[in-house]
Protein backbone atom coordinates (compact mmCIF):
# COMPACT_ATOMS: atom_id res chain seq x y z
CA UNK A 1 0.00 0.00 0.00
CA UNK A 2 1.82 3.12 -1.20
CA UNK A 3 1.99 6.26 0.88
CA UNK A 4 2.09 9.68 -0.73
CA UNK A 5 1.91 12.94 1.17
CA UNK A 6 3.22 16.32 2.21
CA UNK A 7 6.09 16.57 4.65
CA UNK A 8 6.05 18.27 8.04
CA UNK A 9 9.68 18.42 9.11
CA UNK A 10 10.93 18.77 12.67
CA UNK A 11 14.28 18.50 14.43
CA UNK A 12 15.95 16.17 16.90
CA UNK A 13 14.47 14.84 20.13
CA UNK A 14 10.80 15.51 19.31
CA UNK A 15 9.52 14.27 22.66
CA UNK A 16 6.23 12.79 23.74
CA UNK A 17 5.38 15.87 25.81
CA UNK A 18 5.32 18.04 22.67
CA UNK A 19 3.60 15.35 20.60
CA UNK A 20 0.76 15.18 23.16
CA UNK A 21 1.04 17.27 26.34
CA UNK A 22 0.11 15.65 29.64
CA UNK A 23 -2.86 17.94 30.10
CA UNK A 24 -4.55 15.88 27.36
CA UNK A 25 -3.78 12.47 28.83
CA UNK A 26 -7.25 12.15 30.23
CA UNK A 27 -8.36 11.70 26.62
CA UNK A 28 -7.84 8.37 24.94
CA UNK A 29 -9.47 8.20 21.50
CA UNK A 30 -7.35 8.94 18.39
CA UNK A 31 -9.91 11.53 17.27
CA UNK A 32 -9.73 13.54 20.49
CA UNK A 33 -5.95 13.25 20.77
CA UNK A 34 -5.43 14.29 17.15
CA UNK A 35 -6.87 17.70 17.90
CA UNK A 36 -3.89 18.45 20.15
CA UNK A 37 -1.18 16.67 18.19
CA UNK A 38 2.16 18.55 18.23
CA UNK A 39 0.41 21.44 19.95
CA UNK A 40 3.36 22.67 22.06
CA UNK A 41 5.82 22.41 19.17
CA UNK A 42 3.71 23.56 16.21
CA UNK A 43 0.39 25.07 17.22
CA UNK A 44 -0.88 25.10 13.62
CA UNK A 45 -0.23 21.42 12.94
CA UNK A 46 -3.46 19.86 14.15
CA UNK A 47 -5.66 22.20 12.16
CA UNK A 48 -3.62 22.08 8.96
CA UNK A 49 -2.43 18.47 8.68
CA UNK A 50 -4.15 16.47 5.94
CA UNK A 51 -4.74 12.70 5.86
CA UNK A 52 -1.81 11.09 4.12
CA UNK A 53 0.73 13.67 5.28
CA UNK A 54 4.13 12.56 6.51
CA UNK A 55 6.08 13.67 9.57
CA UNK A 56 9.85 13.78 9.17
CA UNK A 57 12.03 14.04 12.26
CA UNK A 58 15.67 13.96 13.32
CA UNK A 59 17.35 11.81 15.96
CA UNK A 60 15.52 10.12 18.79
CA UNK A 61 12.00 10.89 17.57
CA UNK A 62 9.36 10.19 20.19
CA UNK A 63 11.71 10.24 23.18
CA UNK A 64 10.34 10.44 26.67
CA UNK A 65 7.20 8.81 27.93
CA UNK A 66 5.68 5.46 27.03
CA UNK A 67 2.38 7.17 26.39
CA UNK A 68 0.72 5.39 23.46
CA UNK A 69 -1.31 8.58 23.17
CA UNK A 70 1.62 9.99 21.20
CA UNK A 71 1.53 7.70 18.14
CA UNK A 72 -2.27 7.55 18.51
CA UNK A 73 -2.47 11.33 18.18
CA UNK A 74 -0.24 11.22 15.12
CA UNK A 75 -2.21 8.40 13.50
CA UNK A 76 -5.51 10.02 14.49
CA UNK A 77 -4.39 13.20 12.75
CA UNK A 78 -4.19 11.20 9.53
CA UNK A 79 -0.41 11.06 9.31
CA UNK A 80 0.43 8.10 7.08
CA UNK A 81 4.04 7.59 8.08
CA UNK A 82 6.81 8.99 10.28
CA UNK A 83 10.32 9.02 8.84
CA UNK A 84 13.16 9.88 11.23
CA UNK A 85 16.93 9.59 11.54
CA UNK A 86 16.28 7.41 14.59
CA UNK A 87 13.41 6.57 16.93
CA UNK A 88 13.22 6.28 20.70
CA UNK A 89 12.48 2.67 21.51
CA UNK A 90 9.14 2.84 23.29
CA UNK A 91 7.67 5.12 20.61
CA UNK A 92 9.00 2.77 17.92
CA UNK A 93 7.30 -0.21 19.55
CA UNK A 94 4.08 1.67 20.15
CA UNK A 95 3.89 2.83 16.54
CA UNK A 96 4.30 -0.73 15.27
CA UNK A 97 1.74 -1.97 17.77
CA UNK A 98 -0.94 0.45 16.63
CA UNK A 99 -0.13 0.03 12.95
CA UNK A 100 1.48 3.45 12.36
CA UNK A 101 4.21 2.94 9.73
CA UNK A 102 7.64 4.27 10.76
CA UNK A 103 10.94 4.25 8.92
CA UNK A 104 14.50 5.12 9.90
CA UNK A 105 16.33 6.77 7.01
CA UNK A 106 18.91 9.42 7.96
CA UNK A 107 19.75 10.36 4.40
CA UNK A 108 16.15 10.89 3.37
CA UNK A 109 15.60 13.06 6.43
CA UNK A 110 18.66 15.20 5.77
CA UNK A 111 17.60 15.92 2.18
CA UNK A 112 13.89 16.51 2.80
CA UNK A 113 12.20 19.78 3.73
CA UNK A 114 8.78 20.77 5.00
CA UNK A 115 6.36 20.99 2.10
CA UNK A 116 8.11 18.34 0.00
CA UNK A 117 6.06 15.40 -1.21
CA UNK A 118 7.31 11.89 -0.45
CA UNK A 119 6.18 8.61 -2.01
CA UNK A 120 6.83 5.67 0.28
CA UNK A 121 6.56 1.96 -0.50
CA UNK A 122 6.83 0.04 2.77
CA UNK A 123 7.07 -3.39 1.21
CA UNK A 124 9.74 -2.39 -1.29
CA UNK A 125 11.46 -0.25 1.35
CA UNK A 126 11.75 2.87 -0.78
CA UNK A 127 11.23 6.57 -0.17
CA UNK A 128 11.07 8.95 -3.14
CA UNK A 129 11.30 12.70 -2.74
CA UNK A 130 9.16 14.06 -5.56
CA UNK A 131 10.78 17.49 -5.42
CA UNK A 132 14.36 16.26 -5.81
CA UNK A 133 13.58 13.02 -7.62
CA UNK A 134 15.90 11.12 -5.26
CA UNK A 135 15.11 7.59 -4.11
CA UNK A 136 16.22 6.21 -0.74
CA UNK A 137 16.32 2.58 0.32
CA UNK A 138 15.34 1.55 3.81
CA UNK A 139 16.36 -1.66 5.58
CA UNK A 140 13.28 -3.88 5.77
CA UNK A 141 11.62 -4.45 9.14
CA UNK A 142 12.36 -7.84 10.72
CA UNK A 143 9.83 -10.38 9.45
CA UNK A 144 8.18 -10.84 12.84
CA UNK A 145 7.64 -7.10 13.21
CA UNK A 146 6.46 -6.80 9.61
CA UNK A 147 3.88 -9.44 10.51
CA UNK A 148 2.53 -7.20 13.25
CA UNK A 149 2.43 -4.17 10.97
CA UNK A 150 0.79 -6.09 8.15
CA UNK A 151 -1.86 -7.43 10.52
CA UNK A 152 -2.71 -3.84 11.36
CA UNK A 153 -1.08 -3.87 14.79
CA UNK A 154 -0.39 -6.07 17.78
CA UNK A 155 -4.03 -6.67 18.72
CA UNK A 156 -5.16 -8.06 15.33
CA UNK A 157 -1.90 -10.03 15.18
CA UNK A 158 -2.53 -11.48 18.65
CA UNK A 159 -6.17 -12.29 17.89
CA UNK A 160 -5.01 -14.31 14.89
CA UNK A 161 -2.47 -16.17 17.00
CA UNK A 162 -4.95 -16.85 19.79
CA UNK A 163 -7.37 -18.25 17.20
CA UNK A 164 -4.63 -20.45 15.74
CA UNK A 165 -3.92 -21.77 19.22
CA UNK A 166 -7.60 -22.44 19.61
CA UNK A 167 -7.79 -20.23 22.68
Amino acid sequence: MPINGTVWKYGDNVDTDVIIPARYLNLSTPEELAQHCMEDLDAGFAAKVKPGDIIVGGENFGCGSSREHAPLAIKGAGVACVVARSFARIFYRNAINIGLPILECPQAVDETESGDRLAIDLRAGTIVNERTGRTYYVAPLPEFIMGIVQSGGLVPYTIKRLQEKGG
Binding site: D15, R23, D40, I90, V155
Partner: protein, 421 residues
Protein backbone atom coordinates in the same frame (compact mmCIF):
# COMPACT_ATOMS: atom_id res chain seq x y z
CA UNK B 1 31.56 -15.99 25.73
CA UNK B 2 29.65 -14.86 28.79
CA UNK B 3 26.52 -12.81 29.18
CA UNK B 4 25.41 -9.50 30.59
CA UNK B 5 22.73 -9.19 33.26
CA UNK B 6 20.08 -8.29 30.69
CA UNK B 7 20.91 -11.27 28.50
CA UNK B 8 20.76 -13.64 31.47
CA UNK B 9 17.44 -12.44 32.83
CA UNK B 10 15.82 -12.44 29.40
CA UNK B 11 17.18 -15.91 28.65
CA UNK B 12 15.65 -17.21 31.87
CA UNK B 13 12.23 -16.06 30.66
CA UNK B 14 12.24 -17.19 27.05
CA UNK B 15 9.16 -19.24 26.29
CA UNK B 16 9.63 -22.95 25.71
CA UNK B 17 12.86 -23.71 27.37
CA UNK B 18 16.18 -22.41 28.45
CA UNK B 19 18.53 -20.99 25.90
CA UNK B 20 21.11 -18.31 25.62
CA UNK B 21 20.13 -15.04 24.02
CA UNK B 22 22.30 -12.54 22.21
CA UNK B 23 21.81 -8.84 21.45
CA UNK B 24 19.64 -8.17 18.42
CA UNK B 25 17.63 -11.38 18.71
CA UNK B 26 13.84 -11.13 18.79
CA UNK B 27 12.42 -13.38 21.48
CA UNK B 28 9.13 -14.01 23.21
CA UNK B 29 9.26 -14.12 26.99
CA UNK B 30 7.06 -14.86 29.95
CA UNK B 31 6.58 -11.89 32.25
CA UNK B 32 6.48 -11.98 36.04
CA UNK B 33 4.55 -8.76 36.46
CA UNK B 34 2.48 -6.42 34.28
CA UNK B 35 1.62 -2.93 35.46
CA UNK B 36 -0.46 0.03 34.34
CA UNK B 37 -1.58 3.32 35.89
CA UNK B 38 -4.61 5.57 35.64
CA UNK B 39 -3.55 7.27 32.41
CA UNK B 40 -2.27 4.20 30.58
CA UNK B 41 -4.82 1.64 31.78
CA UNK B 42 -7.83 3.04 29.87
CA UNK B 43 -6.23 2.38 26.48
CA UNK B 44 -4.87 -0.96 27.71
CA UNK B 45 -8.35 -1.99 28.86
CA UNK B 46 -9.88 -0.97 25.54
CA UNK B 47 -7.34 -3.03 23.62
CA UNK B 48 -7.66 -5.95 26.06
CA UNK B 49 -11.39 -6.06 25.39
CA UNK B 50 -10.76 -6.26 21.65
CA UNK B 51 -8.73 -9.41 22.21
CA UNK B 52 -11.82 -11.24 23.34
CA UNK B 53 -10.18 -12.96 26.32
CA UNK B 54 -12.30 -13.10 29.41
CA UNK B 55 -9.65 -12.95 32.07
CA UNK B 56 -6.10 -11.76 32.66
CA UNK B 57 -3.42 -14.44 32.45
CA UNK B 58 -2.80 -14.37 36.22
CA UNK B 59 -4.55 -11.87 38.51
CA UNK B 60 -1.66 -12.07 40.99
CA UNK B 61 0.77 -10.84 38.36
CA UNK B 62 -1.15 -7.74 37.30
CA UNK B 63 -0.73 -4.47 39.17
CA UNK B 64 -2.88 -1.39 38.67
CA UNK B 65 -1.97 1.87 40.38
CA UNK B 66 -3.89 5.14 40.49
CA UNK B 67 -1.08 7.69 40.77
CA UNK B 68 -0.81 10.14 37.88
CA UNK B 69 -3.92 12.30 38.05
CA UNK B 70 -4.95 11.39 41.60
CA UNK B 71 -6.65 12.39 43.77
CA UNK B 72 -8.64 12.97 40.62
CA UNK B 73 -8.08 16.39 39.20
CA UNK B 74 -11.18 16.59 36.96
CA UNK B 75 -14.13 14.56 35.69
CA UNK B 76 -12.28 12.85 32.84
CA UNK B 77 -9.51 11.73 35.20
CA UNK B 78 -12.13 10.43 37.63
CA UNK B 79 -13.71 8.44 34.81
CA UNK B 80 -10.35 6.94 33.88
CA UNK B 81 -9.82 5.81 37.46
CA UNK B 82 -13.36 4.47 37.65
CA UNK B 83 -12.70 2.43 34.52
CA UNK B 84 -9.48 1.02 35.96
CA UNK B 85 -11.20 0.25 39.24
CA UNK B 86 -14.01 -1.64 37.45
CA UNK B 87 -11.51 -3.64 35.43
CA UNK B 88 -9.54 -4.58 38.56
CA UNK B 89 -12.71 -5.83 40.19
CA UNK B 90 -13.90 -7.76 37.15
CA UNK B 91 -10.51 -9.38 36.70
CA UNK B 92 -9.99 -10.09 40.41
CA UNK B 93 -6.81 -8.06 40.43
CA UNK B 94 -6.01 -7.68 44.10
CA UNK B 95 -2.87 -5.59 43.43
CA UNK B 96 -4.98 -2.55 42.87
CA UNK B 97 -3.83 0.60 44.66
CA UNK B 98 -6.09 3.58 45.15
CA UNK B 99 -6.06 6.91 46.95
CA UNK B 100 -5.18 6.55 50.62
CA UNK B 101 -3.58 3.17 50.05
CA UNK B 102 -1.20 3.87 47.19
CA UNK B 103 2.04 5.47 46.26
CA UNK B 104 3.71 6.56 43.07
CA UNK B 105 3.96 3.21 41.25
CA UNK B 106 7.75 2.95 41.09
CA UNK B 107 8.09 3.79 44.77
CA UNK B 108 5.20 1.54 45.72
CA UNK B 109 5.88 -1.74 43.92
CA UNK B 110 9.31 -2.43 45.45
CA UNK B 111 8.02 -1.35 48.84
CA UNK B 112 5.16 -3.82 48.59
CA UNK B 113 7.47 -6.68 47.67
CA UNK B 114 5.88 -7.06 44.25
CA UNK B 115 9.15 -7.14 42.30
CA UNK B 116 11.90 -9.65 42.96
CA UNK B 117 15.49 -9.93 41.74
CA UNK B 118 15.59 -11.88 38.51
CA UNK B 119 12.05 -10.88 37.53
CA UNK B 120 11.05 -9.72 34.07
CA UNK B 121 8.61 -6.84 34.50
CA UNK B 122 6.77 -4.75 31.94
CA UNK B 123 4.82 -1.64 32.80
CA UNK B 124 2.78 0.93 30.92
CA UNK B 125 5.03 3.71 32.15
CA UNK B 126 8.48 4.65 30.90
CA UNK B 127 9.99 4.69 34.39
CA UNK B 128 9.28 0.99 34.92
CA UNK B 129 13.03 0.66 34.47
CA UNK B 130 13.26 1.72 38.15
CA UNK B 131 12.98 -1.93 39.24
CA UNK B 132 16.31 -2.63 37.61
CA UNK B 133 17.72 -1.51 40.96
CA UNK B 134 16.46 -4.83 42.34
CA UNK B 135 18.25 -6.86 39.68
CA UNK B 136 15.07 -7.31 37.66
CA UNK B 137 14.81 -6.71 33.91
CA UNK B 138 12.09 -4.09 33.95
CA UNK B 139 11.06 -2.02 30.98
CA UNK B 140 8.40 0.48 29.98
CA UNK B 141 5.98 -0.19 27.14
CA UNK B 142 2.79 1.23 25.72
CA UNK B 143 -0.79 0.37 26.58
CA UNK B 144 -1.27 -2.10 23.72
CA UNK B 145 1.79 -4.13 24.71
CA UNK B 146 0.46 -4.18 28.27
CA UNK B 147 -3.00 -5.27 27.09
CA UNK B 148 -1.48 -8.25 25.29
CA UNK B 149 0.78 -8.98 28.28
CA UNK B 150 -2.22 -8.93 30.63
CA UNK B 151 -4.05 -11.35 28.35
CA UNK B 152 -1.22 -13.74 27.55
CA UNK B 153 1.49 -13.20 30.16
CA UNK B 154 3.95 -12.78 27.27
CA UNK B 155 5.71 -10.04 25.33
CA UNK B 156 8.09 -9.87 22.40
CA UNK B 157 11.46 -8.28 23.03
CA UNK B 158 14.52 -7.41 21.06
CA UNK B 159 17.48 -8.41 23.24
CA UNK B 160 19.38 -5.19 23.93
CA UNK B 161 23.09 -4.57 23.87
CA UNK B 162 24.46 -3.47 27.22
CA UNK B 163 26.29 -0.31 28.16
CA UNK B 164 28.17 -0.92 31.39
CA UNK B 165 28.94 2.10 33.59
CA UNK B 166 31.49 1.64 36.36
CA UNK B 167 31.60 4.29 39.08
CA UNK B 168 34.74 4.54 41.19
CA UNK B 169 36.43 7.07 43.42
CA UNK B 170 35.20 9.05 46.41
CA UNK B 171 31.70 10.51 46.49
CA UNK B 172 31.68 14.18 47.41
CA UNK B 173 29.35 15.68 50.04
CA UNK B 174 25.71 15.96 48.98
CA UNK B 175 26.30 13.90 45.83
CA UNK B 176 23.82 11.06 45.51
CA UNK B 177 22.22 8.75 43.00
CA UNK B 178 20.43 11.61 41.21
CA UNK B 179 23.67 13.46 40.63
CA UNK B 180 25.42 10.33 39.38
CA UNK B 181 22.70 9.55 36.87
CA UNK B 182 22.37 13.16 35.72
CA UNK B 183 26.13 13.29 35.23
CA UNK B 184 25.97 10.07 33.24
CA UNK B 185 23.13 11.30 31.00
CA UNK B 186 25.06 14.50 30.48
CA UNK B 187 28.05 12.43 29.41
CA UNK B 188 26.29 10.08 26.99
CA UNK B 189 23.29 12.12 25.88
CA UNK B 190 19.53 11.49 25.85
CA UNK B 191 20.01 8.81 23.25
CA UNK B 192 23.42 7.61 24.44
CA UNK B 193 21.90 4.34 25.62
CA UNK B 194 19.13 4.15 23.02
CA UNK B 195 17.84 0.57 22.82
CA UNK B 196 20.47 -0.57 25.30
CA UNK B 197 20.38 -1.93 28.79
CA UNK B 198 22.44 0.09 31.21
CA UNK B 199 24.37 -1.94 33.75
CA UNK B 200 25.53 0.05 36.78
CA UNK B 201 28.57 -1.22 38.67
CA UNK B 202 31.66 -0.28 40.64
CA UNK B 203 32.57 0.34 44.28
CA UNK B 204 30.52 3.52 44.45
CA UNK B 205 27.41 1.63 43.37
CA UNK B 206 28.17 -1.19 45.80
CA UNK B 207 28.07 1.35 48.61
CA UNK B 208 24.91 3.08 47.36
CA UNK B 209 21.65 2.63 49.25
CA UNK B 210 18.58 1.07 47.62
CA UNK B 211 16.97 4.51 47.45
CA UNK B 212 19.99 5.82 45.54
CA UNK B 213 19.92 2.82 43.21
CA UNK B 214 16.20 3.26 42.51
CA UNK B 215 16.93 6.87 41.55
CA UNK B 216 19.64 5.84 39.10
CA UNK B 217 17.71 2.98 37.52
CA UNK B 218 14.66 5.26 37.23
CA UNK B 219 16.43 7.56 34.80
CA UNK B 220 17.89 4.91 32.49
CA UNK B 221 15.08 5.81 30.08
CA UNK B 222 16.26 9.42 29.99
CA UNK B 223 19.37 8.21 28.19
CA UNK B 224 17.13 6.17 25.89
CA UNK B 225 17.81 2.99 27.83
CA UNK B 226 15.58 -0.06 27.79
CA UNK B 227 16.59 -1.07 31.32
CA UNK B 228 18.88 0.09 34.13
CA UNK B 229 20.29 -2.87 35.96
CA UNK B 230 22.14 -3.44 39.21
CA UNK B 231 23.43 -6.89 40.12
CA UNK B 232 21.90 -8.38 43.24
CA UNK B 233 24.09 -7.99 46.34
CA UNK B 234 23.72 -7.82 50.11
CA UNK B 235 22.08 -4.38 49.88
CA UNK B 236 19.43 -5.87 47.60
CA UNK B 237 18.98 -8.88 49.83
CA UNK B 238 18.59 -6.74 52.93
CA UNK B 239 15.87 -4.77 51.13
CA UNK B 240 13.87 -7.67 49.75
CA UNK B 241 14.10 -10.11 52.63
CA UNK B 242 10.97 -9.67 54.65
CA UNK B 243 9.18 -7.89 51.81
CA UNK B 244 9.04 -10.62 49.21
CA UNK B 245 6.53 -13.42 49.48
CA UNK B 246 8.23 -15.72 46.96
CA UNK B 247 11.67 -17.11 46.16
CA UNK B 248 13.84 -15.22 43.72
CA UNK B 249 16.71 -15.71 41.29
CA UNK B 250 19.94 -13.77 41.57
CA UNK B 251 21.94 -13.10 38.44
CA UNK B 252 25.46 -11.76 38.06
CA UNK B 253 27.00 -10.60 34.81
CA UNK B 254 29.76 -12.88 33.55
CA UNK B 255 33.29 -11.55 33.73
CA UNK B 256 33.64 -12.27 30.01
CA UNK B 257 30.30 -10.76 29.03
CA UNK B 258 30.45 -8.64 25.91
CA UNK B 259 29.45 -5.03 26.35
CA UNK B 260 28.73 -2.60 23.54
CA UNK B 261 30.55 -0.01 25.59
CA UNK B 262 32.09 0.28 29.05
CA UNK B 263 32.21 3.71 30.60
CA UNK B 264 34.29 4.39 33.70
CA UNK B 265 33.39 7.40 35.76
CA UNK B 266 35.55 8.86 38.51
CA UNK B 267 33.06 10.37 40.94
CA UNK B 268 35.73 12.20 42.95
CA UNK B 269 35.29 15.30 40.85
CA UNK B 270 31.52 15.18 40.52
CA UNK B 271 29.52 17.93 42.19
CA UNK B 272 25.76 17.98 42.67
CA UNK B 273 24.33 18.30 39.17
CA UNK B 274 21.63 20.44 37.60
CA UNK B 275 20.02 19.64 34.24
CA UNK B 276 19.00 22.80 32.42
CA UNK B 277 15.93 23.13 30.23
CA UNK B 278 14.80 21.48 28.02
CA UNK B 279 16.69 18.15 28.00
CA UNK B 280 17.98 15.98 30.86
CA UNK B 281 21.38 15.91 29.14
CA UNK B 282 21.99 19.65 29.64
CA UNK B 283 23.79 19.04 32.90
CA UNK B 284 26.11 21.37 34.75
CA UNK B 285 27.82 21.19 38.14
CA UNK B 286 25.82 23.27 40.62
CA UNK B 287 28.75 25.67 41.09
CA UNK B 288 28.43 26.63 37.42
CA UNK B 289 24.73 27.34 37.33
CA UNK B 290 25.06 31.10 37.54
CA UNK B 291 22.11 33.16 38.69
CA UNK B 292 18.88 31.22 38.12
CA UNK B 293 16.00 32.52 40.18
CA UNK B 294 13.20 30.07 40.78
CA UNK B 295 9.47 30.27 41.49
CA UNK B 296 8.89 26.69 42.56
CA UNK B 297 10.79 23.75 44.03
CA UNK B 298 9.37 20.24 43.78
CA UNK B 299 10.74 17.45 45.93
CA UNK B 300 9.24 14.04 45.23
CA UNK B 301 8.38 11.74 42.30
CA UNK B 302 9.31 8.17 41.39
CA UNK B 303 12.86 9.47 41.03
CA UNK B 304 13.39 11.10 44.43
CA UNK B 305 10.28 10.60 46.54
CA UNK B 306 11.67 8.07 48.99
CA UNK B 307 12.53 8.42 52.66
CA UNK B 308 16.22 9.05 52.12
CA UNK B 309 15.36 11.91 49.74
CA UNK B 310 13.00 13.48 52.28
CA UNK B 311 15.60 13.12 55.02
CA UNK B 312 18.13 15.00 52.89
CA UNK B 313 15.61 17.75 52.17
CA UNK B 314 14.73 17.99 55.87
CA UNK B 315 18.37 18.27 56.87
CA UNK B 316 18.61 21.38 54.73
CA UNK B 317 15.21 22.87 55.54
CA UNK B 318 15.43 22.34 59.29
CA UNK B 319 15.55 25.71 61.05
CA UNK B 320 15.34 27.56 57.74
CA UNK B 321 12.49 29.11 55.76
CA UNK B 322 11.51 28.65 52.13
CA UNK B 323 12.28 31.87 50.24
CA UNK B 324 9.26 34.22 50.08
CA UNK B 325 9.24 34.11 46.28
CA UNK B 326 9.28 30.31 46.11
CA UNK B 327 6.54 27.69 46.37
CA UNK B 328 8.13 24.52 47.75
CA UNK B 329 6.04 21.40 47.18
CA UNK B 330 7.10 18.17 48.84
CA UNK B 331 5.46 14.91 47.85
CA UNK B 332 6.27 11.71 49.77
CA UNK B 333 6.27 8.87 47.25
CA UNK B 334 3.96 6.53 49.15
CA UNK B 335 1.79 6.29 52.25
CA UNK B 336 4.55 4.32 53.98
CA UNK B 337 7.15 6.97 53.13
CA UNK B 338 4.73 9.65 54.32
CA UNK B 339 4.12 7.88 57.61
CA UNK B 340 7.81 7.26 58.23
CA UNK B 341 8.57 10.88 57.42
CA UNK B 342 5.83 11.96 59.81
CA UNK B 343 7.16 9.79 62.62
CA UNK B 344 10.68 11.13 62.09
CA UNK B 345 9.46 14.70 62.37
CA UNK B 346 10.31 15.50 58.75
CA UNK B 347 6.80 16.66 57.84
CA UNK B 348 6.85 19.09 60.75
CA UNK B 349 10.20 20.41 59.51
CA UNK B 350 8.78 20.90 56.03
CA UNK B 351 5.65 22.72 57.19
CA UNK B 352 7.55 24.90 59.66
CA UNK B 353 9.88 25.85 56.82
CA UNK B 354 6.91 27.00 54.76
CA UNK B 355 6.71 24.09 52.32
CA UNK B 356 3.53 22.45 51.09
CA UNK B 357 3.28 18.71 51.75
CA UNK B 358 1.08 16.62 49.47
CA UNK B 359 -0.43 13.15 49.46
CA UNK B 360 1.50 10.79 47.15
CA UNK B 361 0.92 11.62 43.49
CA UNK B 362 2.84 12.07 40.27
CA UNK B 363 1.13 15.43 40.06
CA UNK B 364 3.43 18.21 38.86
CA UNK B 365 6.13 15.94 37.41
CA UNK B 366 4.24 15.55 34.15
CA UNK B 367 2.29 18.78 34.33
CA UNK B 368 -0.79 17.07 35.69
CA UNK B 369 -1.73 18.98 38.82
CA UNK B 370 -0.40 19.92 42.28
CA UNK B 371 1.99 22.58 41.07
CA UNK B 372 1.67 23.66 37.45
CA UNK B 373 3.83 26.51 36.14
CA UNK B 374 2.65 29.70 34.45
CA UNK B 375 4.38 31.30 31.47
CA UNK B 376 7.81 32.58 32.41
CA UNK B 377 8.03 30.55 35.63
CA UNK B 378 10.91 28.35 36.65
CA UNK B 379 11.06 25.29 38.84
CA UNK B 380 13.87 23.23 40.26
CA UNK B 381 12.62 19.71 40.60
CA UNK B 382 13.73 16.27 41.74
CA UNK B 383 11.67 14.76 38.91
CA UNK B 384 13.08 13.13 35.78
CA UNK B 385 12.18 15.17 32.68
CA UNK B 386 12.40 18.79 31.69
CA UNK B 387 11.12 18.85 28.10
CA UNK B 388 9.41 22.04 26.98
CA UNK B 389 6.06 22.39 28.72
CA UNK B 390 6.67 19.40 30.95
CA UNK B 391 5.42 21.05 34.14
CA UNK B 392 2.97 23.54 32.69
CA UNK B 393 3.06 26.42 30.22
CA UNK B 394 5.22 25.89 27.18
CA UNK B 395 7.13 29.03 28.22
CA UNK B 396 8.03 27.69 31.66
CA UNK B 397 11.32 26.05 32.60
CA UNK B 398 12.25 22.99 34.65
CA UNK B 399 15.72 22.42 36.09
CA UNK B 400 16.34 18.87 37.31
CA UNK B 401 18.36 18.19 40.45
CA UNK B 402 18.59 16.02 43.52
CA UNK B 403 16.82 16.74 46.83
CA UNK B 404 19.81 18.54 48.37
CA UNK B 405 20.01 21.11 45.58
CA UNK B 406 16.23 21.42 45.36
CA UNK B 407 15.91 22.12 49.10
CA UNK B 408 18.84 24.54 49.19
CA UNK B 409 17.41 26.36 46.17
CA UNK B 410 14.00 26.59 47.83
CA UNK B 411 15.62 28.48 50.69
CA UNK B 412 17.84 30.69 48.56
CA UNK B 413 15.27 31.56 45.91
CA UNK B 414 17.77 30.62 43.23
CA UNK B 415 19.55 27.42 42.24
CA UNK B 416 22.43 26.66 44.59
CA UNK B 417 24.02 23.70 46.31
CA UNK B 418 23.73 23.15 50.07
CA UNK B 419 27.35 24.25 50.56
CA UNK B 420 26.46 27.71 49.32
CA UNK B 421 23.66 28.23 51.86
Amino acid sequence: MGHTLAEKIIAAHVINGRQEVWPGELVEVNVDLVMANDITAPIAIREFEKLGVRRVFDPEKVVLVADHFVPNKDIKSAEQCAQMRRFAREMSVSNYFDVGRMGIEHVLLPEQGLVAPGDLVVGADSHTCTYGALGAFATGMGSTDIAVAMATGQVWLRVPETLRVVYYGELQPWVGGKDLILYTIGAIGVDGARYMALEFAGPVVDALSMDGRFTMANMAIEAGGKAGLFACDQVTRAYVNGRLRRPYQEHQPDLDARYARVLEIDVSKIEPQVAFPHLPEHTRPVSQVGEVRIDQAVIGSCTNGRLEDLRIAATILRGRRVHPDVRCIIIPGSQAVYLDALREGLIETFIEAGAAVSTPTCGPCLGGHMGILAAGERAVSTTNRNFRGRMGHVDSEVYLAGPAVAAASAVAGRIIGPDAL
